[in-house]
């Protein structure tokens, strides 16, 4: 996993106005409509901003073990409260990778895909650890 690749690819897709976070939720909800009921407390725009912000913060701090431990624990508690189940994590991961693939086009190289796969696997394992 190369943090530089993660950051550069994320910055590229986030520079595409609001397309990237919007498309992520479109893909996720299209494939798994039942997930949309977890997102009713915030408007779509706010949810998309929060997603982009959180993803960016994680990528920025991917080498900061202390930050990751602290923030992922907060995320884990919040996810539990929202009713996120273990089976949903691969759904989100697949939607994320497919959105990146779609947005980056030929820029979604094997190297980029590998970095995101490894990063998401690490994230998931931490968030599922305490379950």
């Amino acid at each position: 996993m190369d943090p530089r690749i993660l950051r550069e690819s994320l910055e590229t897709v986030l520079a595409m106005d609001d397309k990237f976070p919007r498309r992520f939720y479109e893909i996720l909800f299209e494939r798994h409509p039942q997930v949309s009921s977890l997102f009713v407390r915030s408007s779509a725009g706010a949810q998309q901003k929060m997603f982009a912000q959180k993803l960016c913060a994680i990528v920025d701090h991917v080498e900061d073990a202390e930050w990751m431990t602290r923030e992922l624990e907060r995320m884990r508690v919040a996810h539990d409260e929202y009713g996120v189940t273990a089976e949903m994590f691969p759904w989100v991961g697949d939607a994320l990778l497919d959105t990146l693939r779609e947005a980056l086009g030929s820029g979604f190289t094997a190297e980029v895909e590998q970095s995101w796969r490894v990063a998401y696997a690490r994230l998931t394992s931490t968030l599922l650890k305490e379950r």
Partner: protein
Amino acid sequence: MRTESTASEISLPWERPRNVFEARALHLVLAWSLDEPDRLGEAIPIRDAVCVGRGGALADDPAPRGQPFRMRPGTTRSCSPIASARISRLHLVVSPTGNGTAEIRSVGRAVMRVNGRACTSAEVRAGDVVEIHNAAVFLVTERPLQLPVVDEELTRFAFGAPDRFGVVGEGEAAWEMRSALAFAASTDRHVLLLGESGAGKELAARTIHGLSSRHAKSLVSRNAATMPESLLDAELFGNVKNYPNPGMPERLGLIGEADGSTLFLDEIGDLPEAHQVHLLRVLDSDGEYQRLGESKVRRSSFRLVAATNRPLEALKHDFLARFTHRVNIHGLGDRRDDIPLLLATLLKRTATRNGAIAAKFFERRGGEIAEPRLAPDLVARLLRHTFTHHVRELDRLLWLAIGSAPADYIGLTPAVEAELNDSEESATVVAPTELDRDAIVKALAENGRSPSKAAKALGLKNRYVLLRLLKKHGLSAASEDGEGEAS
């Protein structure tokens, strides 16, 4: 014993250096942020060269990180680094030039626009507006590095929010005004408020009353321009029953009503000179006056707060002399850095009172109404507009934007655009560099190779301008790598 004194030992208050509040610098004040809308009003000082970008310092930063501050009188609280996902880790490098301007260079991914023009570098001065596409809008201001201390009581409200009297603003002019109003309030002397129509003179009068020892009683407020000349004396001083005409009811008069309180007379400059003279006696310390048709001398312990948008010469000199304090109520031209905060307050008030507008134009977070969906180009243009009716005009333009909004965001519609101009002082960018080939290639790549979208992202007027530039650089919108014939 003989002691040697040095300049640094001087301790007499009037001999101390006064430069603490005189040291000034350009600042980048956050006026709009897609991801961090709760940080409006935070300012990054440009004393020396600084880098602006997401997160903390990077090893290869060419200069120290610009630290965002929340500046309050007597304190400057440093804030966390910018966290907006759409701002690159190193996006801007800003260096003061030493002659009141700063050179600003964009090295980030999202396009920079200065006063609406896409560029990679520019020389900016106070009043200029710097946008990072779909991420942030900054206003360049010149302000002191520290605001003079005011009574702590005045600062007890959240940063950027209205104070307890409804005054909004965190800039130098807003705090100077709050301080002057508080001082005037503490002295119980008559006050003259000077400012253009719509600048907030009534709010200032309410602040003086609210901060004064008279606040327990209601403020008596009247617009002098609306009083018929033939009834002016009766309105001001009151009259006994059936005077001057049979059937006239008894009136206390505004001065009698304001006994123990504050009388706010707006547009005092419209009061005819003869009536200004009538007020001289009652404005003296004893507050003596007589109702019309009554020989008895009455006394009213009132404080007059008068306001005018006219030159001081419009008032008789001896009338003018009764006002111990004159407080300038700054228009928006003097406090552009407060425009984003005023916008936020006006929008929040609108959303609170109108559920349909809140549902259509505001985001919702955790079930609560959150930030408005406000287009950055509207904010950028409002920051450069020359206001003639100030907050009242801003409010009107906002309603125009809401009323003419084609979708679920408040933006720069043709109806609003037709009302806006660019203030002279903000149109001073010196030679931003022409769009270079890399910026065009990047914009096309980031916008799915759509000339229309890329043109918008680059701040160009329309896609035809981009197509001309593509031709000039030997580029094509269609080809993957940007090379080839122009389409």
